[in-house]
Amino acid sequence: MAYKCTRCKRNVEIDYEYTGIRCPYCGHRILVKERPTTIKRIKAE
């Protein structure tokens, strides 16, 4: 699953066993999930 670091804005892969939730480049602990490119269909209600 692709994440993005909110500090260095780089795409990040998470290694749950080794680093846990942490950016391997800058060490920042806040990562956000990127929006998938699929079309999302929702009901307007």
């Binding site: 929006r35 079309i39 999302k40 269909r41 929702i42 009901k43 307007a44 209600e45």
Partner: protein
């Protein structure tokens, strides 16, 4: 006695009229039909390609759904009643697209419709305020349906009626208590004691304060059971005039369907 309609105010979006010589059941039927049984078009499904605005996809879709769209009742049918059997043909579906990039405010007028007869009734409804770098790309699919299914399909807004007030003054001693008590200030002292002149009676809210404050019980407040003061507003999908006609037509259709069912028994 035949039913009578006396129009007091009529504009594109709102109407006020007196319906007389009609039963309460009929008046309520018209009210209910205009609220829930006149089908309109409204955005129902939203395909979101990209949304980086501050609103969630669902919130954005809700806002889109509530925007009234101009509708021609002859041209469209609800999906469930369409001859295409739910396959979404041009008779039951209209597609609108929206593509915008910030910084700017996105209005309902920015929706690009695939059918020129179907447009946002108000062009200036704000949908979302996009900031620098934010983007919204989506396709909205409008369907026709009834107000009882979801409020976004409700063609009439604030449709209601009250009975025609009848206020009579007998043996008035001109004390003026009722004049001061009336919250609508429609009572004044005339040559033969207190009176309500002309169309002021339509403003009466039947609160009966004038009757309760009168020490000699000269005032009686009652209502005409056969006469109704209607107020109606349209959300813009139809003009009010069309809305009332459509409401009448749906009642007629329902009644004839009931007749058919009863005959086939």
């Amino acid at each position: 006695m035949t039913m009578e309609v006396d129009i007091l105010e009529l504009s594109e979006r709102s109407a006020k009229f007196i319906l007389s010589n009609a039963s309460a059941a009929f008046a309520n039927g018209v009210r209910r039909a205009s609220l829930s049984d006149v089908p309109t078009l409204a955005i129902d499904d939203v395909n979101i390609y990209n949304n980086t605005s501050v609103l969630f996809d669902e919130q954005l879709a809700l806002r889109l759904g509530l925007i009234p769209l101009t509708t021609d009742i002859e041209e469209f049918v609800p999906v469930e009643e369409c001859t295409c059997g739910g396959a979404e043909c041009p008779a039951c579906k209209v597609s609108l697209t929206l593509s915008a990039e910030g910084p700017r405010m996105v209005y309902s007028g920015d929706l690009v419709s695939s059918d020129e007869r179907v447009q946002a009734a108000d062009q200036n409804v704000p949908i979302i305020d996009l900031k620098e770098g934010q983007k919204v790309v989506l396709e909205a699919i409008a369907h026709m349906n009834y107000g009882h299914k979801h409020a976004k399909w409700q063609a009439g807004v604030a449709c209601g009626y009250k009975n025609m007030p009848i206020v009579t003054f007998e043996n008035c001693d001109e004390c003026g208590a009722c004049v001061n008590e009336c919250p609508k200030n429609i009572i004044h002292i005339g040559p033969n004691g207190a009176e309500i002149s002309g169309d002021d009676i339509l403003k009466c809210i039947l609160c009966k304060l004038c009757a309760s404050v009168c020490e000699i019980d000269a005032v009686t407040v009652s209502e005409d059971e056969k006469s109704f003061i209607f107020t109606m507003e349209s959300d813009g999908s139809y003009t009010v005039q069309q809305l009332i006609i459509n409401a009448g037509t749906t009642i007629k259709e329902k009644a004839s369907r009931l007749g058919e069912i009863l005959e086939s028994l």
